[in-house]
Symmetry: D2
Subunit: 185 residues, 4 copies
Amino acid sequence: MRDELFIRGEVPMTKSEVRSISISKLELSKSSVLYDVGAGTGSVSIEAALSMAEGTAYAIEKKNEAIELIYKNIEKFSTSNVIVTEGEAPEVLLNLPVPTHAFIGGTSGNMDSVLDLLLNKNPDIRIVINVIALESLQDVMDWLKKKQIEAEIVHVQISKAKTAGRYHMMMGNNPVYVVSFGGNT
Amino acid sequence: MRDELFIRGEVPMTKSEVRSISISKLELSKSSVLYDVGAGTGSVSIEAALSMAEGTAYAIEKKNEAIELIYKNIEKFSTSNVIVTEGEAPEVLLNLPVPTHAFIGGTSGNMDSVLDLLLNKNPDIRIVINVIALESLQDVMDWLKKKQIEAEIVHVQISKAKTAGRYHMMMGNNPVYVVSFGGNT
Amino acid sequence: MRDELFIRGEVPMTKSEVRSISISKLELSKSSVLYDVGAGTGSVSIEAALSMAEGTAYAIEKKNEAIELIYKNIEKFSTSNVIVTEGEAPEVLLNLPVPTHAFIGGTSGNMDSVLDLLLNKNPDIRIVINVIALESLQDVMDWLKKKQIEAEIVHVQISKAKTAGRYHMMMGNNPVYVVSFGGNT
Amino acid sequence: MRDELFIRGEVPMTKSEVRSISISKLELSKSSVLYDVGAGTGSVSIEAALSMAEGTAYAIEKKNEAIELIYKNIEKFSTSNVIVTEGEAPEVLLNLPVPTHAFIGGTSGNMDSVLDLLLNKNPDIRIVINVIALESLQDVMDWLKKKQIEAEIVHVQISKAKTAGRYHMMMGNNPVYVVSFGGNT
């Protein structure tokens, strides 16, 4: 789905191409239960929810500004299967239904405890993480090593043409690491 | 969908990440009619077909080796809505039903006539093109300019970790240009 | 040389990494005569000049703002072998000494006539071109094809860490095509 | 310098573009003393040595096959200021003259002790490191954090055109992290 379709404000949003890759790597089924941790504008929750007729996406977010945007986007896309969950992970995840999938787009430094909880809730969970900071990548890799989990790690670098007169100039996006693991396939 | 899921042989295949981006940019609906021109292993046709309950994907391919692989992959995924069409574009497209969408992954140098025919068949068609050679990008851009169509042009550069002992080495894939335009959104 | 070393103003500057690659691909000798066409801040001229004890770099530039910056940078680095040449290429190149090397960082759309003149002045000239727009890349490739010259074409994508608290976030630069050909090696 | 100029065998070599960037970031002066740790084919030592009229490059390498190649390349380029030092870092570095600069292209997992020794020998040393594995990047970043040194971290992704008939296909190289710090500028 195009980025322009979402109401965005100033909240950072996973860009279209990285969102497509991440949702594809989630390998959702029709009735998955997805946690979208650090949901931002809700773009991942909504795009995922639209593809799951009987599934549910929990959009977990702590910032008020972002939460408002998620509600606006849910309304815009009339998605009835996105549930906004206000609060901070991992605490706020405790009382939610058992997840089959999780997308982590932002965790404010408590990556370990979030990943621990997700794995506790469902040892077969499939998790996809978007990482921008090198330190967050370290945190994820350290956790994976401790748990002896082998993940797929992909570095995505997108540039996009901007029109300037008769010219198309390629503008570089910021690169994103997409880490994926788990699931029972 | 993971690349390993498809039966591949020696036939070149659009890699998982680029396929996810391309299918997302197609913006298929439940009942789309998709031409997959230069279908290769059929991976785009099959992944697209699985997302269209009532739609049809035409996998157009001229090479025997590839055609066999498409049939094998159709069988493997039990997709009943992929129709293999043997022959060379644009000629072979003439008698197919009007398309709503087209993916072009390979055209052996007749990009112009293929694009002309697609636009003739449906002026509102949405087209996504994967381009590897700089000359093919030129061909597409020249055609777009002649038709005064403004397209989105994205350069996708993926690298993927390969495990070597305790190390993860990032291995660079070949970059792909993804060009998208048209549709009535 | 670090970008911060140059006085820059608002004038676009070839970034450090691309400048290093481009100057290396010029394969200058101690006594080369270099044209720097579209010199901008003069960073390429100055870095090249510092490596050529007996050579000369002609910094060709038409914009007043940029010309002033070149003079300031020459003063800052005390480079006596950079000669500022005000005016537009190719005309302004006619009366300059025969070049052994040329770097083209910007040509405002007259790529063909600039390349024609350079090759006329010295059929053995070595040329390195930085291209950002896809149309400029087309122009260069069309000219190379017409002249039956085989060039090296390299796509350079740099991202650089920005510190944010305890985090290093990788920020993507805009990609640059570096095209190199000629010379008698 | 072009990769083809060096005698290579099967030994991995820093590619031309990354070598240009790395040597540029070393900021060598005419009389620098450079350690090239994990010298491989000697390409960095030789290219650096050619730019230092009165400086010396120590090519440190433990593998016999690589050492032979370094000697061959020294002969080919007639560089009298490259000194081959056989053995493993950090031990082999102990008796060498105090370095002003170091390039680390490979350390077989003892990154910490090598960096410690370099900094001990000269607190003002300027160091440039090429890293391919994510774990090596972690090692370097952990060490930098411990020492409270702020470094520049750059991710370099190069792709290069390969001619196939009338086409230029862009082929992706493996990405490299270039980490630079220190020096008294």
